[in-house]
Symmetry: C2
């Protein structure tokens, strides 16, 4: 009796458990350049173990290596069709460490969940894809050509994706692209997502003196923390709207299809509030539209003066804020940084410096593309009627470089759920979601090959 | 040939150099309760070595010990008159450590200056006073009775001074009080200061969720760092004025004498700006009046989210600001904290919590008191015509508990200069100032005994 594809996937996931744990054990924090070489070696071995041809691209100046792997279609597969998977091997810093209930880099099973830094974003998904590949190999064979590109700088804004794609466009060529990240929303709908927001990360820096002063001198001396605070407050209204002239000028109005898809998206405020223990009202009356097409400006961090225990009566010489903006078509990161600096000057904060850290443009596939439609249709086999087509994620990835250069549609799906907390302590996925995602991946490949 | 008092002082300072170094070597950071017992032991020995009777008061619940020492007038001195010295043995934290050019707790001589944490505030001054006592003992004998009270919690707001003074009022009884802190201003005038501002230290705390969120969720989720930033900005106008209803209601108008003394105070903006490398315009058009009688509100520190290297796309669940207000007669610390909380609620920030950390009331001696006049007159022997009478310091100390309970005038003088940077890295005093201050102290005692 032949195994079903679902059964084969489940069997491979059991067999691959230790490999998942070993991958998560690597502390691949790209912001700190930790264990990069060890992780690249690990991936090279992992791809070779499923029969792939692997090349590590170290030819992009200043970049963490890219791991590129290819697998040809099997004897009964369609050798004319190629699907490219994008994943990243780097993770966010695990801090704050004291809020983890388990060791951040130890795969731990808690109440039907896998907990570890990167298990949701994005190490788990790549391992699920490899298990899906093995399940296809063990049953009907690979239904199409596969390519994998795995980068090591996604969490620091993919600063070398653009030159890498330029240099290796021929090798990367594919008909369709499957991206990392995705899963179930707060209402347990499985999302198939066709794009990403862009991002612009920056710092605001103020310096008012060369040394910290005794706070009694506040009688006459200006204060970097007050300057920063007031400068920040001048950039954003109480309604979450950014008060920077020209900030929204390049925002493209949604097409009719995008509007329809957006309007069909659910948003369960109660579940969302519970999952994140939100203490404040939402900052928008239309969260679904905001997730798809609102530009945000977020303070990621504030730092100034004395932050230790007890009291220190100091007047800080400097203050820094880290921020990011999430962008939508057709906003340009560098232009927004310039607009913010100009607005600060207009607001009287010529001493508050905008330091541009990184930027990525937004990307959105055409919702009418046949591969987008295939992904939605196939999902019904696994997820029934709980499948949603999302014009673009609220998050960011370097899709624009692939989508524009390779002229291919991109869909993203994965293993997360509303409580996954990627980037936060106790990052986790539900094991049942992980199993479904691996199965779905295998079914998408099969349907794509037979299409 | 008899030594002059000045010569005797200089001789004692040479002899006492190693004792000064040993005192500074102790890392007596009160906010962290470091090396308190070791410091108390050191002081007990130091006082005994000049013949004092020493008692360590450990009977004030929850307090670091108080060191109390007495010395009777010598045979030719005036046994009817008693002068009380107030000093503190604790220091501020040395952070940020990477900005020190020398080891913070090693007394280092650099370009005619002594550099070390506490050398200006306030360990150096007590050692200068002991050297002055020794010089008097070596020449004419002690001209009056002396008492010393040395506390270990000044840098954390002297939370136990009030009960200590209540419990030990009889032992502390004195005709006049000489306080710590003082020296030369940016224009090289020697200041005799007759009071202090009060203080109210507090935190603002905001929490918007139970976990840090991925910053893409800024599309709908509120942000603790934005809440804090806007709450802070709502409390203070661009002109340095606090926008809290009732905040200034209890400020007493200066008397005619106080106004005259204030108007006579110099303020050299150029020198001040150079000493502190100030990059911004002053926040007031009348810095002298502000130093004497303006209430300030200072952000001491800001902390939220990710403050490390590189980028972390996080939406922080919480944010904290540390602040202090410097108060003038007749403002009350706790009342101001309540007014700030009420104003935050009125401004729509009911989720921003005011956490009261500590408070001290302001104090100002009568400028017409005979001891105040004596201190000014004696100063002319050492400092010529560069002597200024300051109604009160811009800084804070627990003078009110002594001045009101003991019904005695208080004057403060010391060893600092405009570039001393107390509380900051590379805290220092000029050795020549240290010598002058010890000599002046000896002359004040002699004149007070003969008065």
């Amino acid at each position: 009796m032949t195994m079903t594809l679902k059964q084969a996937v489940e069997q491979e996931l059991v067999a691959d458990h230790d490999r998942l744990a070993a991958y998560l054990k690597l502390e691949t924090v790209s912001a700190q350049h930790r264990e990069i070489d060890e992780t690249v070696d690990f991936l090279e071995q992992a791809f070779k173990s499923v029969g792939a041809t692997v090349t590590v691209w170290r030819d992009v100046a200043g970049s963490h290596p890219f791991v590129f792997a290819t697998l040809p279609a099997g004897p009964t597969g369609n050798a004319d069709k190629t699907l490219l998977f994008y994943n990243h091997y780097d993770v966010q810093p695990p801090e704050p460490l004291d809020e983890w209930q388990t060791a951040p880099f130890d795969l731990t099973e808690v109440d039907g969940k896998y907990v570890a830094r990167g298990v949701s974003d994005d190490k788990g998904e790549l391992m699920a894809r490899l298990s899906a590949v093995k399940a296809l190999q063990a049953t009907s064979g690979l239904p199409c050509n596969l390519k994998f590109i795995v980068e090591g700088e996604e969490e620091i804004g993919s600063p070398h994706i653009a030159p890498m794609v330029q240099q290796h466009a021929a090798e990367l060529a594919a008909d369709v692209i499957v991206w990392e990240t995705g899963g179930k929303d707060a209402d347990e709908n499985f999302d198939i997502t066709c794009g990403v927001k862009g991002i612009m990360s920056f710092e605001l820096r103020v310096k008012t003196a060369e040394k910290d002063l005794h706070s009694s001198l506040a009688a006459y001396a200006d204060n970097a923390a007050w300057r920063l605070t007031r400068a920040l407050a001048s950039l954003r209204g109480p309604d979450n709207r950014v008060l920077v002239a020209g900030f929204y000028d390049d925002v493209r109005v949604l097409t009719a299809e995008e509007q329809r898809a957006t309007a069909a998206l659910p948003f369960n405020e109660t579940t969302t509030r519970e999952n994140f223990s939100l203490k404040r009202p939402l900052v928008t009356t239309d969260p679904v539209a905001a997730l798809v097409n609102a530009t945000t400006m977020t303070i990621n961090g504030l730092s100034s003066g004395y932050e230790g225990e007890g009291v220190k009566t100091v007047l800080p010489k400097q203050a820094t804020a880290k921020l990011d903006c999430r962008l939508v078509p057709n906003q340009e990161p560098k232009k927004l940084a310039q607009l913010i600096q100009a607005q600060l000057v207009r607001n009287g904060f010529e001493d508050v410096e905008v330091v541009y850290l990184l930027g990525e443009k937004p990307f959105r596939s055409k919702l009418t593309d046949p591969f987008v439609q295939l992904a939605v249709k196939t999902a019904a086999k696994i997820y029934g009627d709980r499948v949603k087509l999302v014009p673009n994620a609220a998050g960011t990835g370097p899709q624009v470089f692939f989508g524009e250069t390779l002229q291919a549609p991109i869909v993203a799906f994965g293993t997360t759920w509303a409580g996954s907390g990627p980037h936060a302590p106790n990052e986790n996925i539900r094991i049942a979601d992980y199993q479904q995602d691996a199965w779905y991946t295998a079914e998408v490949l099969r349907d794509f090959g037979m299409e």
